[in-house]
């Protein structure tokens, strides 16, 4: 049989647990528990909102459609800038290890404000004009993104291994950093390869 002091300890523990339970709604207002992993998503989908049927063999005068999407899991609302860049095979990609963006200038941009846990998606249409070929080079003079024309003058050499004139439509995600009061590359980028056929 337990001694009276042991029972006293049981009652005191029950009292403490009870007080903690009753105080939990108030404590939850004061204590901030650490959340889960903070990250953002960036994606490109094909014209049917699926990860398939991406434009690949492209030609001048035709319009192509993809969808760009962003997901926010940063634990609070976030301010993103999605940059659309266009590169040939020799121009640098972002460096995921060093978390540095591609030095190419952005052509088009989306400014996106997203609450935590929400996603955003927007259409991205593009077409090419003034495409010419000479010797083993292909030159694109103008790229039209969402009905805005950009003069790019971008050439690429014939790729013997993959048989084609390859370019890449590159999408980078940048995020506004409240501490530095500036946008920083969020180390998220996606791209689709395009083979200029005509």
């Amino acid at each position: 049989m337990l001694k009276i002091d042991d029972y006293k300890l049981v009652f005191m523990s029950a009292g403490l647990i009870g007080i903690l339970l009753f105080a939990s709604p108030t404590l939850s207002l004061v204590l901030r528990l650490p959340g889960g992993e903070k990250f953002s998503e960036l994606w490109i989908l094909g014209p049917e909102h699926m990860a398939e049927d991406y434009p690949f063999n492209v030609e001048a005068g035709e319009e192509y459609l993809v969808y760009v999407g962003v997901g926010n899991h940063m634990g609070c609302s976030a301010y993103y800038v999605v940059y659309v860049k266009f590169r040939n095979q020799n121009e640098p990609l972002p460096n995921a290890t060093a978390a540095t963006p591609s030095p190419l200038p952005p052509l088009y941009e989306y400014r996106v404000f997203l609450e935590d846990g929400k996603t955003w998606e927007a259409p991205l249409t593009f077409s090419f004009s003034y495409v010419s070929r000479f010797e083993n080079q292909c030159l694109i003079e103008a790229l039209i993104i969402n009905n805005v024309t950009f003069s790019i003058d971008k050439s690429t050499a014939w790729d013997v291994n993959n048989i084609g004139y390859y370019y890449q439509l590159l999408i980078e995600l940048w995020i506004y950093n409240v501490e530095s009061e500036d946008f920083v590359f969020h180390n998220r980028f996606v791209g689709i390869w395009l083979n200029m056929t005509g």
Binding site: I4, Y7, K8, F11, A14, G15, G18, I19, F22, A23, P25, T26, L29, V30, C76, S77, Y79, L107, Y108, E109, Y110, R111, V112, F113, L114, E115, V148, T149, F150, Y176, V178, E181
Partner: protein, 147 residues
Amino acid sequence: MPLFVSADDGASSAISEANDALRRAFEAVLEAERVGANVSGLIVKLNEVGGLLAEAEIAYKNGNFSEAVSKAKECSGLADGVMDEALTLKGKALAMGQNIFWQNLSITLVESAVFLIFLFFVWDWFKRFYSKKLMKMKPEVAVDAED
């Protein structure tokens, strides 16, 4: 004395001001969100303003400076409006948060006090019950195992 006039008709400074206004508006919205305000409506408005700023930037890149200035100015005005709304919402959320806190604290104190009084009575009853049980026990002589 040479007079330098910006070639872009003030478009770059208008865009820069719009950028700053939008950042300030976002920071105000973030502050409001941190104190528990529902900022969904403000986020929708920020997206509209952000769209305008993106259009201004694209117009500027394409050399359409007058369009860039007009969109950037519209963006600045709207962003300032969002910031004002966010500050109002933050004030309301703070007041509501304090009310909720004091309400919760009062309920917690009352609940805890009632629980402790109840526990004290149970303890008192248990002590008497335990003593009574102890008194009723008869002393027994244990058999020495070594014998």
